[in-house]
Amino acid sequence: MENYMKLEFPSKSQNEAFARAAVGVFVAQLDPTLEELSDIKTAVSEAVTNSIVHGYANAKGSVELICRLSGREVTVTVIDTGKGIPNIELAMQPLYSGTDDEDRSGMGFTVMESFMDTLEVESEVGRGTSVTMTKRIGTTIYV
């Protein structure tokens, strides 16, 4: 299977649900298990939410999402041109949040990392952030 899709939407929080649903429907052509599908949707939700609340800090901006299918592998890339991440290694640590919002658990990157097979973050302060994650469908071993 070789296929891809590309979306662009404004940084409105209503689009979090839209983005994960769109990816879910697109990935369905690989016939994933329910768990694989919800893992991908959850990871997409984390990346898109981060672009909206951190990248653009709830100001206006545009988020780009690309989803590629290659063989049994799903690759999702979420790109913003927001404020960027000063220290990626620190940002990716479990429980670390760069905000002082007490209702942020700092678990977004940890969710992406554990629900997907790979996670790569590129970022430059003042230029934006790009998050790429992959997951292979159909590697679940049934016993």
């Binding site: 649900a17 994960r20 658990s105």
Partner: protein, 101 residues
Amino acid sequence: MKLRMESIGTTLVVKPDGELDQSCATELRTDIDREIIRTHTKNLILDLGNVTFMDSSGIGMIIGRYKQIQARGGKTMIIRPQPQVDKVLELSGLKKIVECG
């Protein structure tokens, strides 16, 4: 996201309905906090049976309520999480600090 709340004695039962993400977390937090104060809640039960999706925004919201209830000397309990919600709860470590049924 719809929200139903019911007070039984000093226990507040909170029942959100739908997908729990950043777009509704703030409103949910405000509504629950207001009700905690209004009804002098001691213990909190979060019935997640009708939550069809949750991400880390939900985790943050729950930890915030857990801390409030703890400060009031009460207990927080999570009941009926669906598989996707349960997996996120498990990963966050919340299941170690909040009673789950």
